[in-house]
Symmetry: C2
Subunit: 453 residues, 2 copies
C-alpha cells in the first residue's frame, strides 16, 4: 500500500528501507515528526500519514526539502496494533456515540486497505484517545452511509434511538455525514421534545488521512460540551473558524452547511451559535442564554411521524411551471417555495413573455384550495420573508401561501414534513409560522448576518 | 394623503395646522430637519417624509419627544414642484439609464398617490440631484416590472439595448429589482462580450420613503465608478455595508442576494468585489486587477441566444424522483443539479429506504444518454464542487454529470442556458467548466468566505 504514495516518496522509502509499519522521522519546514508509517488509501499522494505516539494519525505534506529516515529496525504489525482494554470508570459520565457514517470515524482498514467506519468503543478511543479522559464511551452503529443518501426514515431511526437511550446515558453524540447534517438536525429537533440530556451532532469535513482532519476536535469538543455544561437538547458541534481554535455549538434549526469543503463550513443562519468550545484552552463561552437545561427527571416526548408528500421548490427566472403542476397533480400535502427576495414568485403578467405567470398563481391557488399547505421561505437564505411589502407578497398570501418568517428553506421543509406527519392540516397551518424549537426568532439580530467581504 | 400617517402624527399635524406641501421643521434626537411635508403612500406610518432643500426626500422616524412645527404660511403645490431645465454639458460624460422597474427610481405620484417609476431624466435628477454634477443623463424605460417576474427574454432585451447603445454613451446604468438581479447580471455578462464601456446594474432594497433608502447612494456610486475609473464590462453596484459608507462593485457572475431585506444583501461568492466606491469621501479602491479596461474602439460581440429547456433542481433528503423524471420526459437539454456538499446526490442503495436511489442514478444516466447536459453545483453556495473525493461524485461523473467548479447554482444555470442557446451540445460540454467571463476562479481564495459569526 506504500504504492499509493507518489513516485517521489516511494523512491525515498526505497532508499531509506522504509515500509508500512516502520517507525520513521520526517523533518519538514523545521518541524520534526516521529511515528509509524501508515498505509495510504486515497487522497493526496504527497501527504505522508504517520501514527504519532499519542495515537493520532497525522498527514504531513511532503516537500522536496523534507528529510525522511527510518528510526528503528523493527516494523510494527499494524493489524495487531491498538488493542487496548476499556474499563468502565463509575466516576465519569457516559456518552453514547451513534454512528451513521461519514468521514468522522473512518480509518484505514489494514487488511483490506479500504477506509472503514470505526464504531467499536475501543477503536474510537484509539482514534481519539482524549475521549477516555472525558467520559465512558458506549457506541452503536446505526448505518454506514453517506449523508446525501439519508431520508427522513433514517432521521426517524435516530430519533427513536435517542428516545430509547436518553435516560440511560449523560449525553449522545451522533456522528453524521456533513452533506445533510443540517436537514437531519432540524428533523431531530422537531421529532424529539423535552430532551433530558444533550444530543450533539458532529461531522467531519476532511478525512483522517489529511493534516487538516477535523473529526478529532469536533468529537472532543462535543464530549467536553456534554460533560461540562448544563445544556440539553439537540445541537450541532463543528469547527467555528478555519483553524483549530474552537467549535461552535449551533442551533439545530438555524444552521446550514455553507461551504463545500472548509472545516468551518457550517454557519448560523439568522441566529447566534449557542456557545463556543475552545479546544486547547479550558473554556466554554455561551453566546445565548435561552436553551433547555439538563434534567434527568424530564421525560422525553417523541413525535416521530413525517409526511412524505412534502416538496421543496425553488423559483427562478424561466422556471418550469410543469414542476409546480407536478406537485399539484401528485396531490402533495405540503410545499415549501424557495422564493426570491422577501418571498416572491413570478406571478404578475406584464408583457407577452410573462403570460405564463398568471398560470403560476393559479396553480398555487389550486394547490392550496386542494389542501396543500404552501409555505414561503427565501432563497437568499438569510433574512426574514416579508410578504406585506409588495403586491406580489400580498397576492401570494391571498392565494393561501403562508410566510415562513426567518426559517431558511431546509428548516421550513423539515418542519412542514414533521408537522403534517403528526398534526392535522389546520394545526399545521397554525404551527408552521409559530416558534416551537427555536426555529423562528421573532426579532432579527443584525450581527447574525456574516459581514460582507 | 396625510391620513396615511399614524393617528398620533395626524393629531400633531392638525394642532400645528400642517398639510401636505407645508414647509415644516422637525427636531428629533437633537437633530433639526426642515423641508416640505410629503404625502405618505405606504410603508411605516410612523416615518414622516420631508423633501429637503437639496431635493432629496428623507424619512424621519417619529418619536414622541420629537418637536414638529410649521415654518411658513404658504404651502407648495407639489404637482408643479421640481420642474427644472436640463442642459447638455459637452464637457461631461454621458450616462444612459435603462430602467426595468424595482424600487430604485420609484417615487410618490402626487396626483394618484401611488408609487410610480420615474424614468424621465429630469425626474431622475430631481430624485438624485448629484447625478447632474457627474454626467449628462439620458434615460430609457425598458419595462416597469418586479424583477421576480423577469425571464431570459427580458435579459435578452437588455443585452440588445446595451449592444445598441454602448458606442453612443460613456456608461450605462441598469436599474433593476433586486430579487433576480444576480441572475440577470450573469445572463448579461454571458450575452455581451467585449464591452467598450462599463454597464452597472443597480437596485434598491428600501423604498425611497424610508429613512434608510439606498437607491440614491447606489446610483451615485455607479455613476462615479463609470466616470472616474477605466473599468469596462458588466458589474453590480450595491451597498457593501449596512451603513452608507461604500458600495461594492461586484463580479456579475459571482454575486448573490444573500439577505431578504438588508441594504448590504448582495455578497461576493467565491470571489472578491472588483472595487469599493466610497460615498462621501472621494475614493475608489480596487480589490481586483483582472478586469476589462475601457476602450471606445472595441466592438461589442452580442450572442443573445438562450435555451428554454434548461432546469435548476435541488436534491434534498426525501426529494421526489418524479421531478427528475419530469425533466427526462420533457426532453430537457440542460439541467443544473444543486447537489449537497462537494456535489452529491442520493444515488447509493444502502437499505430498504434507499432503494429509490438507484433509480435516481439511472434517471441521471438516461438524461445524459439522451443528450441532456447535466452540470453539478452545490447548494452550500460557497466553495467548489469536488467530485473525485468520494465514490458518489465519481459515480455521478461516470453517469455523465459535469462538475461546475466554483460556480454557484444560479450562475451555472444562466451559463448553461446561454451556452445551449448559442453553441452545440458538444461545445457546451467543453465550455461549461471553462472560465469565460470571470465566472470560474481556478484558485479559491480563503478570504472570499465571509467569516463565521
Amino acid at each position: 500500500m506504500e504504492s499509493n504514495y507518489s513516485e517521489k516518496i516511494q523512491k525515498i522509502f526505497k532508499n531509506e528501507n522504509i515500509d508500512v509499519g516502520s517507525m520513521i522521522q520526517i523533518i519538514s519546514n523545521g518541524q520534526a515528526f516521529e511515528g509509524l508509517l501508515m498505509p495510504r488509501v486515497s487522497g493526496d499522494k504527497n501527504s505522508i500519514i504517520l501514527k504519532l505516539k499519542n495515537g493520532y494519525n497525522i498527514g504531513i505534506e511532503f516537500n522536496s526539502s523534507a528529510k525522511i529516515k527510518r528510526l528503528e529496525e523493527k516494523s510494527v504489525d499494524l493489524g495487531k496494533f491498538e488493542k487496548k482494554k476499556l474499563e468502565h470508570d463509575p466516576k465519569k459520565p457516559t456518552i453514547l456515540i451513534l454512528h451513521t457514517g461519514g468521514t468522522v470515524a473512518s480509518k484505514v482498514d489494514y487488511r483490506t486497505g479500504g477506509v472503514v467506519a470505526s464504531f467499536e468503543p475501543k477503536e474510537l478511543i484509539s482514534l481519539f484517545p482524549e475521549l477516555q479522559n472525558i467520559a465512558n464511551i458506549r457506541s452503536k452503529l446505526i448505518r454506514k452511509m453517506f449523508s446525501e443518501d439519508m431520508r427522513f426514515e433514517h432521521f426517524q431511526i435516530l430519533a427513536r434511538e435517542v428516545a430509547e437511550e436518553c435516560h440511560n446515558v449523560d449525553g449522545i453524540i451522533i456522528a453524521h455525514g456533513t452533506d445533510t447534517l443540517h436537514y437531519s438536525s432540524a428533523a431531530l429537533a422537531f421529532m424529539i421534545e423535552n430532551l433530558p440530556i444533550p444530543v450533539m451532532m458532529i461531522g467531519s469535513q476532511r478525512s483522517s488521512d489529511r493534516a487538516s482532519a477535523d473529526a478529532g476536535m469536533n468529537i472532543i469538543c462535543a464530549a467536553k460540551f456534554i460533560t461540562e455544561t448544563d445544556f440539553a437538547g439537540v445541537a450541532i458541534c463543528m469547527h467555528g473558524s478555519s483553524n483549530d481554535t474552537y467549535c461552535n455549538i449551533f442551533n439545530p434549526c438555524k444552521t446550514r452547511k455553507m461551504h463545500t469543503s472548509r472545516r468551518d463550513a457550517f454557519q448560523s443562519i439568522n441566529d447566534m451559535p449557542y456557545a463556543r468550545v475552545w479546544y486547547k484552552e479550558d473554556k466554554i463561552e455561551f453566546l445565548k442564554k435561552d436553551y433547555l437545561r439538563k434534567d434527568k427527571n424530564r421525560t422525553i416526548i417523541l413525535k416521530d411521524g413525517f409526511e412524505n408528500k412534502v416538496g421543496l421548490l425553488k423559483v427562478y427566472p424561466g422556471f418550469d411551471l410543469g414542476i409546480l403542476k407536478y406537485f399539484e397533480k401528485s396531490k402533495y400535502k405540503g410545499l415549501v417555495l424557495e422564493g426570491t427576495g422577501l418571498g416572491h414568485a413570478p406571478i404578475n403578467e406584464i408583457d407577452e413573455f410573462t403570460k405564463i405567470n398568471k398560470d403560476t398563481l393559479n396553480t398555487i391557488k389550486k394547490l392550496t384550495k386542494n389542501g396543500c399547505v404552501v409555505v414561503m421561505a427565501s432563497q437568499t437564505i438569510y433574512g426574514r420573508v416579508g410578504m406585506n411589502v409588495y403586491s406580489t407578497g400580498r397576492d401570494l398570501q391571498e392565494a393561501g401561501v403562508i410566510p415562513g418568517e426567518d426559517m431558511h428553506p431546509e428548516t421550513a421543509y423539515a418542519k412542514l414534513k414533521w408537522l403534517l406527519g403528526n398534526f392535522s392540516k389546520e394545526e399545521t397551518k397554525k404551527m408552521i409560522a409559530k416558534n416551537l424549537r427555536g426555529e423562528i426568532n421573532e426579532r432579527s439580530e443584525p450581527r447574525t448576518f456574516p459581514p460582507s467581504i
